[in-house]
Assembly symmetry: C2
Homo-oligomer: 253 residues x 2
């Protein structure tokens, strides 16, 4: 088969955070496949076909991309952030494993990108400066009790936690339940970052204490980052502050 | 103060994985500060001063950068991968917090990058397709029993685990001890990726079972990634394979 599938991480949104490797893959593509708002980020070109689809259609979208590649076309499947973090790379491999045997010989290239959590961390300081984890709060694809047990394990072991897919119209209560679980383990003054549309024109970032985190609005474009008891706030003297987690941790007595 | 500090994530090594934002920061800098091999990645320029230092001198290096900026210079502190992941961003903020009060009014911009773990994941498939964490195995900066407790917590909660700083001449036994701890929690056939110098000319990547992982050589340039029991291997029929972790997890009975 002569076709090719790129799975491209576009970065968080700002064009200056999209790698040259990603730009090259988009240039080479005959077809763009992806969730509508991500396809819309790529400048239109008359000789390139655009296949924008709804959210939550990852596997059918991945199959479509593989069919196009099997027919000899060069396809770019686009994701926001990194292609492999709660994004399309895993869906493409799931479609390959459960699909046509011939798809296993297709040329598939995953193009990594700057993830939303790294862009958020950069905006507020260096909260991911020690061990950290990333957890998706979506219970469409895994049992909610697994989400809760991972939250408890991560907070108890003092990982900084980046929460993805925190809220949507169909999932209105999960973030509140997650924060409630974290409050059982972490101090009330643990810093929590709410970052919406990081690196985009409408970016909004606030830092609150865990005790107040329930009052913050969130939606599909919000990433939430929860510090540890060692995460520190540096007041800059003008109302602004940096947040960072030191690389070193003292032995607890 | 008119100076500025950029803390720049150069990406894992390949120039095509360095963002335009990072390239712009390097262009603007009067001074480059960083660990020798990372400074060496930036093409030399007659009007740009280069301050290359040894490894494990992060705080003094950060102070030097802040002093240069306080004197009015534009400084780029360079890191490999992302600037905030086991890299210089956290050291710069620690130096600010413990240093001159006037440094708090300096203009500091963190420039995120493609981390080594995302580049490694992209090379082998999509192993980070579900919840994951990143742990540094260096016990220079934190107690070893904390490293072990985090490994156990992460593996028990079925996070995919990216291990950074796995081995050096001064830390020869930590990786073996970490793998031994993981073997107490994870099945012997859990896939483990050993990736050295990802995206560089001398890149070497192998996938082994956890039971055999002790036999793999590793050094300062090696990242190790440990899957979960749901991480899957797709054999391509020609000896090659992809590794991916599905987005969905069934309820355990």
């Amino acid at each position: 088969m002569s076709g090719k599938v790129f799975v491209v991480g576009l970065g968080p949104g700002a064009p200056e955070m999209q790698t040259p490797q990603a730009s090259r893959a988009l240039d080479l593509a005959d077809d763009l496949v992806g969730y509508g708002p991500y396809v819309a980020r790529v400048p239109a070109r008359p000789d390139q076909r655009r296949h924008a689809s709804d959210n939550r259609e990852e596997i059918s979208r991945a199959r479509h991309a593989l069919e196009l590649a099997a027919a000899g076309r060069t396809v770019a499947v686009v994701s926001s952030g990194d292609a492999g973090v709660f994004a399309m790379a895993s869906a493409v491999f799931e479609a390959i494993e459960t699909g046509e045997t011939s798809w296993r010989s297709l040329d598939v290239e995953i193009v990594p990108g700057v993830s939303a959590m790294f862009a958020v961390a950069a905006r507020v300081g260096a909260p991911l400066g020690n061990d950290f984890c990333a957890i998706s709060l979506s219970d469409n694809l895994k049992p909610w009790d697994l989400v809760l047990s991972r939250l408890t394990a991560a907070a108890s072991a003092r990982f900084v936690i980046a929460l993805y897919n925190v809220q949507s119209r169909a999932r209105p209560w999960q973030l509140g339940a997650a924060l409630s679980t974290l409050r059982q383990v972490l101090p009330a003054d643990t810093p929590v970052v709410f970052a919406r549309a990081v690196s985009r024109e409408d970016e909004e970032i606030v830092i609150v204490d865990l005790a107040q985190a329930d009052r913050q609005p969130a939606d599909m474009r919000t990433l939430v980052m929860v510090g540890t008891e060692s995460t520190r706030r540096i007041d800059r003297g003008d109302g602004r502050a940096w947040l960072y987690t030191p690389r070193s941790i003292e032995k607890r007595s």
